[in-house]
Every structure is written in structure tokens, then in C-alpha cells.
């Protein structure tokens, strides 16, 4: 399909009433979900997935992107008004937005965050459009050797970035790779590790694993502390005043900070495993280092809010770059998006831009559209934000658990999936309590079949396994994988030495 035709086709699909309405609902749901402490963006996306099964592919993905982009902004609300990050991505936002709100300017804090989020998302969408197609063109030329090494690299990066023990991180990645081997073998169709159990014949359903790991087990963690459940009641009293356009000028008068923080977000989003939860802190740190008045950071200044919020919103577009160009998800959220496309029968990889150009362009456009929708929705609804953050966990947790059950059932309408969900939720809770990071597990599950297929293809093409080390790109990726582990080990040893002295 020529580019203009694909572009027109994606515009036509995207600007249909059904898609616009479902995207708008997605934006609202994403913002609200992220505003509620204890309800993460990942949970919101995982639970949106089953709803999109009956939609056409682009509408489904656009809706999920809308939830994602909305969620990237929503964490701001509880961060600014309660001083509690609604999601891990808005930790740095609490540093300046909350003091600003306490000083009597909650409207300004929210406005700054909303505009910074909007521009961050915009910058990341531009980078995505520019970077993904050429990267895909290179990726198509990669052989199975390079692909296998790339996945190995991705797995080690994830394991070294998440959690505090690289041993545990790598073990979780491997566990994910193993879970993916249950069911039919990808090349010959031989059943593996099914033990004659019907439910396992087609392997562990990915969606059920996702919901169990990211929603059920985390929700259980939310209700551990009986005293925290009684919280609620806002800390900011009185009328919130908004001057959206004055604040917009304030954000735009910091172009260097805005652009730097957004690019930090894009780059960190594109690295597998690192996402908004890291980007906001690094963007904030970079802004502070570059500032002429670093001592004022943390007292409620605009630069801090702008850096954190544009940084975390920009990860949305960044994470899509490796997913669209290479078929390797940049984060758990991208893994869910990839699963959504796979359920629709679309294979995600470098050929996506060529084979399903309208879909790829549609996703680019949906990013822009969602950023605009979030902006409009937030500017009009800021007045009610305080009420959202006050919803107690005693309501959120059971309601979201019921949504999890619906999500697990919606896939195949099998009650056994629900039993599996309970089991996985319990295992996930125990793993989390023993300090095992869960994101590497999920990425392992989605990367497992790709890794195995490429490994076997490579050895089918040529029996010499030394090719993994002699082909330059493959060797380079393997060296990077070893380096990422080595650096983490060195960091841990240094930290231990520092702690001792």
C-alpha cells in the first residue's frame, strides 16, 4: 500500500464516530484510573484489553493508546493535590507540584502538569513517527541470529533495571521464557508440559497471566495496611482557580527544559523495561542539574513540574518505537498493546509498517489525537479531580477485582481461566512479597516464542552456533547484554561498599 493511501485509510478509520467515542472514554478512564492511588496505568490498560476484542484492530489499539496517554497524565492529579504519586511515574511530580499546591496554587500546579504532559506526549509522537520507520527498515534485514541476540539483550536490560537484585530479575525473565514454552511448540506443534491438562493445551493464556500478575497480586498488596484504608479526605481546601492559557505560556517559556525532559522520556521509554517510573526521576534530576538555581527545586517551582510531567508522558511514544520497529515491547504496557494486536491476528514486528501500514500510521495519529483529548478533558474537568482522589480503597479494590474476573472470562469464556487467574494472582503476590520483580516475567512470556523461533531458525539455516558471535551485529548485542549485567553488578557492589562505610 502506498504511503498516502495508507495514511488516508488510517485517518478514515480513526475519525469514525465509534473510534472517537471509544478513545474519549479511554482517555477519561486512563486519567481517572491513574489519579486513584493504588490503581496503576498498567492495570487500566490490561483491563481495557478484553473490551477491545470485539472492535476492529485500529479502534482497539487506539482506545488502548488513549488509556495509556490519559494514564500518563492522570498520575499528576493525586501527586499535586495529595502529595501521593497516583502511579510510580509521577513520583518526581510530588516534589514540586505538591508544595506549589500547598502554597495556594493548586490550579497552577495542575495546569502546568497538564500542559507539560501534552507537550511531552507531542514530542514523543513526533520522534516515534521519525524514528520507527527507518529502524524497521534496518530491522527487516536482521537475521534470526541478530534477533535472538537482541532478545537476550532486551531481557538482561529489563532484569538489570527493575528491582534491586539482578539474580532475581534474570530468574524472573527465565521463568517468563519457560512459561511461554508451555503448550504447543512453535515450530512442530508438539504439546509441551501440558500433563494432559486441557487448559494448558494452548499454553498459559497471556492475558490471564497479565491480569493475575499486574492487577490481582498488586491489588492484594494495596489492602495490607488496615490503617491506611481509612485515609481519604483532601488536604487542599477551598476553590481551585484555573487560568489555562496563562499557564500554557508559562510552560512554553521553558522550551529547553521541556524539550530536554521530553527527549529523556522518549529515550528511556525506548529502552526495554525502563518506563515512566524511571523517566520522571531522571528528567527531574537533569533539569535540576542544568538549572541556574538548583536549590529552588523541591520548593514548588514550575521547572520541576514541567520536567517530571513532560518526562513521564514522553515515555508513551518512546516505548512504541521498539515495539513497532522491532516487535519487542519497551515496557509491560507495550507488551499488553502487542498482545492486543496478536489477539486480532496481526503479527507485530518490523514488517508491521510494511504489511499493515494503515495500522502503524493509525497508531501514530492516535498518539497525537489522544494527547489532544487528554488536554481538553483535563482542562475541563480539573474541578472534580479532588473528588476522584478521595475514593477509598475499600471500594476500588473489590470493584477492580471484579473487572479482572470479567477480563479473564472475556477472552475465551472459560471458567477455568478464572481459576488460573486466582492461582496466578496468589503466586504473583507471594513473588512480590519475596521481592521478585514482576515486569521481567511478563516480558519473558511475550518474548519467549520469538526467542525460541529465532534460535531454531538460526540453527536450521546453519548448524554452527559460533555464528552468534561472529556476525557483527549479533556479537555487538551480546556484548551489550554482558555489559548491562556487568554494570549492574558493579553498581550493587559499590552500593554495598558505600553502605558498609
Amino acid at each position: 500500500m502506498p504511503m498516502t493511501e495508507a495514511l488516508l485509510s488510517s485517518v478514515e478509520q480513526l475519525f469514525s464516530l465509534a473510534t472517537l467515542v471509544s478513545m474519549m472514554i479511554g482517555v477519561v478512564a486512563g486519567v481517572i484510573a491513574a489519579a486513584i492511588p493504588g490503581f496503576t496505568v498498567t492495570m487500566a490498560i490490561v483491563l481495557t484489553l478484553p473490551v477491545t476484542f470485539t472492535m476492529p484492530p485500529l479502534q482497539g489499539v487506539a482506545t488502548m493508546l488513549a488509556v495509556y496517554v490519559g494514564g500518563c497524565s492522570g498520575g499528576l492529579i493525586s501527586a499535586a493535590l495529595l502529595g501521593i504519586p497516583g502511579t510510580p511515574s509521577s513520583v518526581a511530580t510530588t516534589f514540586d507540584a505538591y508544595p506549589m499546591a500547598r502554597k495556594g496554587e493548586p490550579g497552577r500546579a495542575l495546569g502546568l502538569g497538564i500542559w507539560a504532559s501534552f507537550f511531552g506526549a507531542l514530542v514523543s509522537a513526533v520522534v516515534l513517527v521519525v524514528a520507527a520507520p527507518p529502524l524497521a527498515l534496518i530491522a527487516v534485514k536482521l537475521g534470526p541470529w541478530e534477533y535472538f541476540s537482541l532478545i537476550l539483550f532486551a531481557v538482561t536490560v529489563v532484569a538489570s533495571l527493575v528491582g534491586d537484585s539482578i539474580l532475581k530479575g534474570l530468574m524472573m525473565s527465565l521463568l517468563g521464557l519457560f512459561i511461554a514454552t508451555v503448550g504447543q511448540d512453535p515450530m512442530m506443534g508438539v504439546p509441551r508440559f501440558t500433563f494432559g491438562i486441557d487448559v494448558l493445551a494452548a499454553g498459559f493464556p497471556f492475558l490471564v497471566v497479565l491480569i493475575g500478575i499486574f492487577a490481582v497480586s498488586q491489588l492484594a498488596g494495596e489492602v495490607e495496611n488496615p490503617t491506611a484504608l481509612q485515609r481519604g479526605g483532601a488536604l487542599i481546601e477551598g476553590q481551585i482557580r484555573f487560568q489555562p492559557f496563562v499557564v500554557m505560556r508559562e510552560v512554553l517559556s521553558r522550551p529547553v527544559n521541556l524539550l530536554r525532559s521530553s527527549l529523556v522520556g522518549v529515550i528511556i521509554g525506548a529502552v526495554p523495561g525502563a518506563g515512566g517510573s524511571i523517566a520522571n526521576l531522571i528528567a527531574y534530576d537533569q533539569a535540576k542539574r542544568a538549572s541556574r538555581t538548583p536549590e529552588r527545586f523541591g520548593t514548588g517551582i514550575a521547572d520541576g513540574v514541567v520536567a517530571s510531567e513532560s518526562g513521564n508522558s514522553a515515555t508513551a511514544g518512546g516505548g512504541l518505537i521498539p515495539m513497532i520497529a522491532l516487535g519487542i515491547p519497551g515496557s509491560a504496557v507495550d507488551a499488553v498493546l502487542m498482545a492486543a494486536l496478536m489477539v486480532q491476528g496481526i503479527s507485530v514486528g518490523p514488517r508491521l509498517i510494511m504489511d499493515n501500514a494503515d495500522l502503524a500510521y493509525g497508531m501514530f495519529l492516535a498518539m497525537f489525537l489522544a494527547a489532544g483529548m487528554v488536554l481538553v478533558f483535563c482542562l475541563f474537568s480539573m474541578r472534580w479531580f479532588l473528588k476522584i482522589t478521595a475514593i477509598p480503597k475499600s471500594i476500588i479494590v473489590p470493584v477492580v477485582l471484579v473487572c479482572c474476573a470479567v477480563g479473564a472470562l472475556a477472552l475465551n469464556n472459560r471458567i477455568t481461566d478464572l481459576y488460573l487467574l486466582v492461582g496466578i494472582g496468589l503466586v504473583g503476590y507471594v513473588l512480590a512479597k519475596l521481592d521478585y520483580p514482576l515486569a521481567p516475567l511478563v516480558l519473558g512470556v511475550i518474548l519467549g516464542p520469538i526467542a525460541e523461533t529465532n534460535l531454531r531458525r538460526a540453527l536450521m539455516a546453519d548448524e554452527h552456533w559460533t555464528l552468534f558471535f561472529t556476525r557483527p551485529i549479533s556479537a555487538g548485542l551480546l556484548i551489550l547484554a554482558v555489559l548491562s549485567v556487568a554494570f549492574t553488578v558493579r553498581r550493587v557492589i559499590k552500593q554495598r561498599a558505600a553502605a558498609r562505610s
Binding site: 478484553p50 473490551v51 476484542f53 470485539t54 539474580l167 532475581k168 534474570l170 530468574m171 527465565l174 521463568l175 519457560f178 514454552t181 511448540d185 515450530m187 512442530m188 508438539v190 509441551r192 508440559f193 490481582v216 491489588l219 492484594a220 498488596g221 489492602v223 495490607e224 488496615p226 484504608l229 477509598p392 480503597k393 475499600s394 471500594i395 479494590v397 473489590p398 470493584v399 477485582l401 471484579v402 473487572c403 474476573a405 470479567v406 472470562l409 472475556a410 469464556n413 471458567i415 478464572l418 481459576y419 487467574l421 486466582v422 494472582g425 496468589l426 503476590y429 507471594v430 512479597k433 519475596l434 521481592d435 526467542a451 525460541e452 534460535l455 531454531r456 540453527l459 536450521m460 548448524e463
Partner: protein, 177 residues
């Protein structure tokens, strides 16, 4: 003064957990190592292929082998942590569970919810689950109880209606009726 007391009791709790966690991690990895070793042996029986050097069992064996190595490394690490953690402050598994009673209660209710759903149907099971867990988490009197009842009705009957009419996905109706 109060703050100081709170701070020490919190750090004590963490120390306690460090020791218990190390023990739990050791046992957990021993169990996993045994499981993965057994699966490793079982994977050897998977058929190989005429067309490729690696059969159906090779990749899983590679992964399982690596997993066992990591389990062993984690066992060594956990035993080291267990030895280093101070002994006298140990409080035991029962208290750890008691502190998390609400989390386990919620998960237990969720398990019951899943088990009863095929019999009594999505709507009724959800209604009961929502009421129970909200009550468990503190909505017991007055306004909060009323809100809990409203929420329970909206998210059981409402979700069922939404999925059957809008998304055309039918949730379990219940075998008993």
C-alpha cells in the same frame, strides 16, 4: 518521643522480615530447583526433529537448566542473608500473615468468588463478593455501608448488562437456575 518509638518498631519489623524473607527465599528456591530439574528431565523425552538440529525439547531445556543455576545461586545468597540477619528479633510466620490478614482475606474471597461463579452466575457471585470485601475492608456502618451496597449493585448487574448488550460477551449465567 512517639516518633522515635514508631521508628524503632518499624525498623524492628523490617529486620524481622529480612530474616524470615531469607528463609522463605531459600525454601522457595529449593522447591523451584527441584521442580525445574524434574521438568528438565521430562523435556528430554520431547521428540527431536529431522529438519532442524534443535527439537521441541532443546529450548525449554536450555531455559530450565539456566533456571536451576539461578535457583542455586539464590539459595546460596539467601542462606548468607539468613545467617547475617540478627536472630533475637525473629517473630515468625504467623505474625507476618496476621499483619497481612486483609490481603489474604481479599484473595481468599476472590478464590471463593471464582469457585462459586459457575454455579450461581456472574451477577449474584459479584454482588456477594463486592459486599463481602467492602465490608471486610471497613465499610460497615452508615453512609459507607449504603455506598458499598450501591457500588455492589452497579458493578454486578451493571457490568453484566454492559457486557451482554454492548460488547456482546456473555458472562456465566449460573448452572443452578
Amino acid at each position: 518521643m512517639n516518633h522515635a518509638v514508631e521508628a524503632t518498631s518499624r525498623s524492628e519489623r523490617e529486620v524481622d522480615h529480612a530474616r524470615g524473607k531469607a528463609l522463605a527465599n531459600t525454601l522457595f528456591n529449593v522447591a523451584l530447583a527441584a521442580l525445574f530439574s524434574a521438568l528438565f528431565v521430562q523435556a528430554g523425552e520431547l521428540p527431536s526433529s529431522m529438519w532442524e538440529p534443535l527439537g521441541a525439547g532443546s529450548f525449554p531445556r536450555l531455559v530450565l537448566g539456566a533456571l536451576v543455576v539461578f535457583n542455586l545461586a539464590l539459595i546460596v545468597q539467601s542462606i548468607g542473608l539468613y545467617r547475617r540477619a540478627p536472630q533475637q528479633r525473629s517473630v515468625g510466620f504467623a505474625r507476618w500473615c496476621h499483619e497481612r490478614r486483609l490481603a489474604f482475606g481479599t484473595l481468599f474471597a476472590f478464590a471463593i468468588y471464582a469457585l462459586t461463579m459457575p454455579w450461581i452466575g456472574f451477577m449474584l457471585a459479584s454482588l456477594a463478593f463486592l459486599l463481602t470485601v467492602q465490608w471486610l475492608l471497613g465499610a460497615r456502618h452508615g453512609r459507607r455501608l449504603v455506598v458499598a451496597i450501591v457500588v455492589a449493585i452497579v458493578f454486578s448487574v451493571g457490568l453484566y448488562a454492559l457486557f451482554s448488550h454492548v460488547f456482546l460477551i456473555s458472562l456465566p449465567k449460573g448452572r443452578l437456575w
